[in-house]
């Protein structure tokens, strides 16, 4: 569910805008950055804090 919510939040942003997400430790830590990169966004990870620039 974490990635779905992130994906919907990204859809509401314009290209180039940044979404900052704090995910719970665990699966989402790897899934969210991976899915975001697969979708073509630029991702920086700092622990459970994930910055995604919408592509």
């Amino acid at each position: 569910m974490t990635w779905v919510r992130t994906k919907l939040a990204l859809e509401r942003l314009a290209v180039g805008e940044t979404l900052e997400v704090t995910v719970p430790a665990g699966e989402a830590e790897t899934n969210v950055p991976r899915s975001a990169r697969e979708a073509g966004h630029t991702v920086t990870v700092d622990g459970t804090h994930i910055r995604i620039v919408r592509a």
């Binding site: 569910m1 779905v4 919510r5 919907l8 509401r12 942003l13 805008e17 940044t18 979404l19």
Partner: protein, 285 residues
């Protein structure tokens, strides 16, 4: 339960504050917290449809297009079962069902919307009950009538899409004609014996059913005559549902100006090209 819902709230809070931060790089600290973006889908909808929302091209907008759509399913039998079940599950907002039959025991092997206790019940009522259990957010409108040339236009007008799951050429031609006249998109389908077809029609833009089949084939057989296995009808109905979801969501192009011919023995899918006919009695002029 409380653990998972508090975790959900945590995610949600994190997203909302992150979205605010992202959209407002320099927020005034004394500004009261406010919702920047109104949620277009509810939390319950996001959960219910999460496995389709996660598809890269299935956006929130696509899901909302589905929610706003009104679809008429002609027939409440073998093809209609997967069509109506998948459309209701996917969140199509309004589904009308047209059929005047009652559930018979010989239906049950191929019509998984109807169960043994439903024998004698109108098919549209039996189907509506199951679909409401599946997704209470969907409005189900049962019409216990037989669609024919006299009432077809009234039934299809105002719909976003018609899915023809009927079992006779007479009904198919009546549906096709009405959809051409009303300008309503149509997905035709049929299955008998070991073969079937699916055809998506955008009236007056792509070939219609009458363009593809100007007259009823002389050797046409019904399921009562030729027989059919449940999953054979299920494959074709499922393909109709798939085409419907592509069309309603505008996420993927359906197969147009062609019909898909399915051989259920060899499992071959063949695209058969069809062109609009200048002399088509249903869509020309």
């Amino acid at each position: 339960m409380s653990d998972s819902s508090s975790r959900r709230n945590f995610f949600r809070g994190a997203f909302q504050s992150a979205a605010r931060a992202a959209l407002r790089p320099d927020p005034e600290p004394e500004e009261p917290p406010e919702e920047v973006v109104a949620p277009l889908l509810s939390e319950a909808e996001i959960e219910r449809y999460s496995r389709q929302l996660v598809l890269p091209d299935w956006t929130e907008e696509a899901q909302i297009r589905l929610r706003d759509a009104s679809v008429l399913v002609v027939g409440a039998g073998a093809l209609a079962a997967p069509v109506a079940l998948y459309l209701a599950g996917a969140g199509v907002g309004r589904i009308g069902l047209v059929d005047d039959d009652v559930v018979e025991i010989s239906n049950l092997h191929r019509q998984p919307l109807h169960f043994t206790p439903d024998l004698g019940v109108p098919k549209v009522e039996s189907a509506a009950a199951k679909l409401r259990f599946l997704n209470p957010d969907v409005i189900i409108e049962p019409y216990q009538v037989r669609l024919d040339a006299t009432n077809a236009l009234g039934l299809v007008e105002g719909q976003d899409l018609v899915i023809d799951c009927s079992d006779s050429f007479e009904t198919r031609y009546a549906v096709n004609r009405a959809c051409c006249d009303a300008g309503v998109d149509l997905i035709e389908g049929g299955a008998v014996g070991w073969s079937g077809l699916v055809m998506t029609i955008l009236p007056r833009a792509t070939a219609c059913y009458r363009c593809a089949f100007p007259v009823e084939p002389e050797d046409a057989q019904s399921c009562a005559e030729a027989g059919i296995l449940g999953p054979a009808a299920g494959v074709l109905g499922t393909l109709q549902a798939l085409e419907a979801l592509k069309l309603l969501s505008s996420t993927q192009p359906p197969l147009l100006d062609a019909f898909l011919s399915v051989d259920l023995v060899s499992l071959e899918f063949t695209h058969v090209s069809v062109h609009r006919r200048g002399d088509c009695s249903d869509c020309a002029g």
